[in-house]
């Protein structure tokens, strides 16, 4: 089917996927050159998912994310400059250096947080959905989860609760086929998509390497949620090209043939070929975006390098909103 997405949106999609990709490549490059990042998990390969979903979101919508959250945040509009500064642990970061890669948040954008305790952010999204219903709004909350979360307790509780509360939540399961080193077919009994059906909510399984497929499925789900139709579930089959975390050697648990197979389905070149073939965008459009992103990457690293670390006495700030009556030792 031909694309029915307008030019601005197509440009946004390309820009977003490329931004995520380049942000992460830069992260890896910096890490390898000795920048002392803490832990972090790369999204490279999965860009189509967050991008296709966020294409339907507005500032006042919410997202809840897991440990592999750079892409979710960037697609929701988080400033890459502040995000990289956060990864550096700088006071100029999204979280003033207190969160790091695994806890990026942005209250102005409804980013409830990258959250590395598997599955727990699903419940936050249900709560955001309940708050939206309470104020009779038409915002939505997107809950990103990995395939491993399907086996977690909080998965069952959260989808059940979202359903009975008719909360406007879209559960987006990024099935990248591994949980650390554990293949999904070992860890998850039955089919992921059947788990959603069991709650009686709409569920769809899509090719998560194809941004158009994601765009379409997410569009329906978001529209349904905004219109009061309640939660739905999307399983996006995808793949991470790098190790589980920044120091993981993935050759220890999977073949390079398998990795290559998914590299051939890389969503970014696939997007490029398709929009060029259908003449929706020109090479000039895309190259312009690439160049713009490169400039941004330089600026981002410069900013992070130049930024200050938090001062030692900040250690005791922001435990509570205000100092408490009796004081603390």
């Amino acid at each position: 089917m031909p694309l029915e997405i307008d030019r601005d949106k197509l440009l946004w999609i390309y820009r977003t996927m490329q931004l995520i990709r380049r942000f992460e490549e830069k992260y890896l490059e910096l890490l390898n050159s000795g920048v002392p990042f803490g832990t972090g998990h790369l999204y490279i390969g999965q860009e189509a998912v967050a991008t296709g979903v966020s294409a339907h979101l507005r500032t006042s919508d919410y997202i809840g994310s897991n440990h592999r959250g750079h892409g979710h945040c960037l697609a929701k509009g988080v400033d890459p400059i502040a995000m990289m500064a956060e990864c550096y642990g700088r006071v100029t970061g999204t979280n003033r250096g207190r969160g790091g890669s695994m806890h990026i948040t942005d209250a102005r954008l409804g980013v409830l947080g990258v959250n590395p305790i598997i599955g727990q952010s699903m419940a936050h999204c249900v709560g955001a959905g309940m708050a939206i219903n309470l104020r009779k709004g038409d915002d939505v909350a997107v809950s990103y989860l990995g395939d491993s979360a399907v086996g977690c307790g909080v998965f069952n509780e959260s989808i059940n609760l979202a359903t009975i509360m008719n909360a406007p939540v879209i559960f987006v399961c990024e099935n990248n086929q591994y949980a650390v080193t554990t293949p999904v077919e070992y860890a998850i009994a039955g089919k992921i998509i059947d788990r959603a059906a069991a709650y009686g909510i709409p569920g769809v399984k899509i090719d998560g390497m194809d941004v158009f497929a994601v765009y379409e499925a997410a569009g329906e789900a978001v529209e349904r949620a905004r219109g009061g139709g309640g939660p739905s579930f999307i399983e996006a089959l995808t793949y991470r090209y790098e190790g589980h975390w920044i120091k993981d050697d993935h050759t220890k648990y999977r073949t390079m043939d398998e990795v290559d197979k998914f590299r051939e389905q890389d969503p970014i070149p696939a997007f490029r070929s398709r929009v060029l073939a259908e003449q929706s965008l020109t090479a000039g459009d895309l190259d312009g975006i690439d160049a713009e992103i490169e400039r941004l990457m330089d600026e981002m690293v410069e900013f992070a390098e130049a930024s200050a670390n938090p001062e030692a006495d900040e250690l005791f700030e922001h435990v509570f909103a205000e100092p408490v009556a009796g004081g603390q030792s």
Partner: protein, 346 residues
């Protein structure tokens, strides 16, 4: 001030009702907090499986008084998420023994949000639950509620920076602390004692707050400081009366907030009395009671005329048989005995 009497339970209900009327972003959720979910014809009579909340749903509707499925993890997490999204949820967890089912949200999520976001998010959620044993000494022997319905265990939530933990002990401070908790921009755990529900006391009708993080001098005295935690207050009063008959005047400091603790008030009392006994119904190991004792021993050592002492429930799981359970918690007699030992010991 009028001598209006309410029970501890009613005082808390009144605070919730007044705050719900005042602020449309306040809502309440929990298992069976109304009962007969989805069956409005029953709501008139109902108010929670175990009492409380009567009529709340009739006044505020099922959008703001929401019965939950048995999913503590999801709905305590939903409380956190709703709080981050601008609402002020009160999350009712039936009893403290259940926190093992949602502990991550209580200790890893809610308390850390403000800190790890560098102040980016408020998290104004109230977790309300109950604690404490049920065997009343002197009752006919038989069964208590068993180990999973009788624990105190608040020390394991008080451990974590970022969570305010309250243990109201009277109808007056219960209402004021609940009002303060709902208005607070940080996560607050509001802990009621299972036994205090029907205790009556003076409660003003108009809304008021009791400050979080402030201890209360419940009784003045010169000879000894008793730090009382939550449900220990009536025991401390009883013991103080007995001691007074022997000419020993105990000052009772009701902690009210068990994290962060009002050290200053405790220290000032000890500076005056030179002796400290902490009474804490929780089991002793890594408890809030021993914490208070340790702070005093470290920071007011020079003032002490006797060993700091803390009195707890016996260090065992709660047995069902009342014949056993009645020996477990602190009692007025044990308090008096501990004071006497403390005075002899030095």
């Amino acid at each position: 001030m009028s001598e209006r009497l309410l029970s501890y339970g009613e005082a808390i209900d009144e605070a919730i009702r007044q705050e719900m009327a005042r602020d449309p972003s306040v809502f309440m959720m929990g298992e069976d907090i109304v009962g007969a979910a989805g069956r409005p014809e029953f709501w008139e009579n109902l108010g929670g499986a175990y009492g409380g909340n009567r009529g709340l749903i009739v006044d505020f509707g099922p959008e703001r008084v929401i019965d939950m499925p048995v999913s503590e993890m999801a709905f305590s997490g939903a409380g956190v998420g709703a709080a981050m999204a601008g609402a002020r949820p009160i999350v009712d967890i039936m009893f403290i023994d259940l926190i093992g089912c949602c502990y991550d949200q209580l200790i890893n999520q809610a308390p850390k949000i403000r800190y790890m976001t560098g102040g980016g998010y408020d998290c104004p959620v109230v977790f309300k639950t109950s604690y404490g044993g049920r065997a009343i000494p002197g009752l006919p022997k038989g069964g208590g509620a068993g180990v999973h319905h009788s624990q105190t265990m608040y020390s394991v939530v008080a451990h974590f920076p970022g969570l305010k933990v309250l243990t109201p002990s009277t109808p007056y401070n219960a209402k004021g602390l609940m009002t303060a908790a709902i208005r607070d921009n940080d996560p607050v755990m509001f802990l009621t004692h299972r036994f205090l529900g029907s205790v009556r006391g003076h409660v003003p009708e108009e809304p008021y707050t009791v400050p979080i993080g402030k201890a209360d001098i419940a009784r003045e005295g010169e000879d000894l400081t008793m730090v009382s935690i939550g449900g220990a207050l009536p025991l401390c009063f009883e013991a103080a009366d007995t001691l007074a008959a022997d000419g020993l005047e105990a000052e009772i400091v009701d902690l009210q907030t068990i994290n962060p603790i009002d050290e200053q008030t405790v220290y000032e009392s000890v500076e005056k009395t030179h002796r400290l006994l902490v009474v804490d119904e929780d089991t002793p190991v890594a408890s809030i009671g021993r914490d208070v004792a340790a702070r005093v021993a470290q920071n007011r050592f020079g003032y002490l005329d006797a060993p700091v002492t803390s009195l707890h429930s016996a260090d065992v799981p709660v047995p069902y048989s009342a014949a056993l359970e009645e020996h477990m918690p602190p009692t007025a007699e044990k308090i008096v005995a501990a004071v006497n030992e403390m005075l002899v010991a030095f």
